[in-house]
């Protein structure tokens, strides 16, 4: 595409096309958007985060990531749409402009580049990273079981061939460690939203233990508001609740770690499929999925802005 206005948001793109989109968007908005490389993947690909900022220094921030499980293509595609939406709405939508006038937004569109490239080239169903594991013929670690929160407990596997293999140690995956380092160096992230698909859920900690999170009441209330905002567009129904109560025990997960870092508004989304496509959601549903999800994200972002801590 020659510009982000002519970029096709209603189709799935390769890693190269998404990285090309990122460069276009930054070039079109040099004062507002910057591209930060937070690290490299196991296979040496750069890991990029987009920073949306209207000024200030180390402002309170909101983090959104997609595609940590590489086959969940509707998530990376939705994030491409979010990125463009941010540039269109800032200065136009008063509620959203208030957020960006006071906070920064960090958006990591392709959180697992090696896995994503592999879904395009070799195996569309690939979920994990592509790291090689000494002593095993199997490849990859589940990057949503590799975080230092309940690491290695029930709800993850020690079998390298399992789709939920947690890795040899917490943060063994550079795709995870890069975010850990970024979050700890930044130190002022107030909301952390990690987006997966599918099964239409909005989840908050904990995943590795039954105990209720200290902020459970507020997290539950906010989740309820967010899923009703989402449903207001097309009626897509989401369930919400803690990870362990809503689906199953999952240890070493992203938002359990971010919550343990004091980031109160830590959420995981599971986006559509409302029907029978699973991870193979038709491209025609990308924009509707992105639009309804954006309403839920706005709800969480506004709450974060209005409830400083």
């Amino acid at each position: 595409a020659r510009s982000t206005d002519t970029f096709n948001y209603a189709t799935y793109h390769t890693l190269e096309e998404i990285y090309g989109f990122i460069d276009l968007l930054v070039a079109e908005n040099p004062k507002f958007i910057s591209k930060i490389q937070i690290g490299n993947t196991y296979e040496g690909r750069p890991i990029y985060v987009l920073k949306f900022s209207t000024g200030g220094n180390n402002r309170p921030a909101i983090w959104i990531d997609t595609g940590i499980h590489s086959r969940e293509w509707v998530t990376q595609a939705s994030a491409v749409w979010f990125a463009k939406k941010i540039t269109e709405d800032y200065g136009q939508d008063p509620a959203f402009s208030a957020i960006l006038d006071n906070m920064d937004i960090f958006l990591e569109i392709v959180t697992n580049p090696d896995g994503f490239a592999f879904t395009h080239s070799k195996n569309r169903m690939w979920r994990k990273t592509r790291s090689r594991i000494a002593g095993s013929s199997c490849v990859g670690v589940d990057p949503n079981r590799n975080w230092d929160a309940g690491f290695g407990k029930g709800g993850s596997s020690s079998n390298p061939c399992s789709e939920t293999y947690h890795g040899k140690f917490a943060n063994s995956e550079s795709e995870v460690k890069s975010i850990v380092d970024f979050v700890q160096n930044h130190g002022n992230i107030k909301a952390f939203i990690s987006i997966h698909s599918y099964s239409q859920l909005l989840l908050y900690p904990y995943g590795y233990k039954n105990e209720a999170a200290p902020d459970e009441k507020e997290l539950d209330q906010l989740a309820k508001s967010a899923v009703s905002a989402l449903a207001s567009l097309y009626g897509t129904k989401f369930e919400y609740g803690s990870i362990i109560k809503t689906i199953y025990q999952a240890s070493g997960s992203t938002v359990d770690w971010t919550y343990s870092q004091g980031i109160k508004y830590s959420y995981t989304f599971e986006l559509r499929d409302t029907g029978r496509y699973g991870f193979l959601l038709p491209a025609s549903q990308i924009i509707p999925t992105a639009k309804e999800t954006w309403l839920a994200l706005l709800t969480i972002m506004e709450h974060t802005l209005n409830h400083p801590y």
Partner: protein, 96 residues
């Protein structure tokens, strides 16, 4: 690109904890090469599993033998992948 011809995705409905456990037992049988898209969680919550062609018959026989209901959510994964690839190529050609 890995070939998924004949792979099916079954949507399993486990009605109680016993049935959820039965499905979990399937998860441990590595030779079946099952890929759980939605893992066994709680009774009443759909379980979606991609089953390679070579395992389809065995999995269906097992589910029927223990009275666990299922339906075929995706009859042939490769067909959907081909459609997805076709759509990407078409949209790329159109934009060029």
């Amino acid at each position: 690109n890995k070939d998924f011809v004949g792979h099916q995705v079954l949507r399993i409905s486990a009605v109680d904890e016993t049935q959820v456990q039965k499905v979990k037992e399937l998860e441990d049988l590595e030779h079946l090469q099952l890929d759980f898209w939605r893992g066994p969680a709680r009774p009443g919550s759909p379980i979606d599993v991609r089953v390679p062609f070579a395992s389809v018959q065995a999995v269906k026989v097992f589910l029927e033998s223990v009275g666990i209901k299922y339906e075929i959510m995706i009859k042939d994964v490769q067909l959907l992948l081909d459609e997805e690839k076709e759509q990407m190529l078409t949209s790329k050609a159109r934009s060029q």
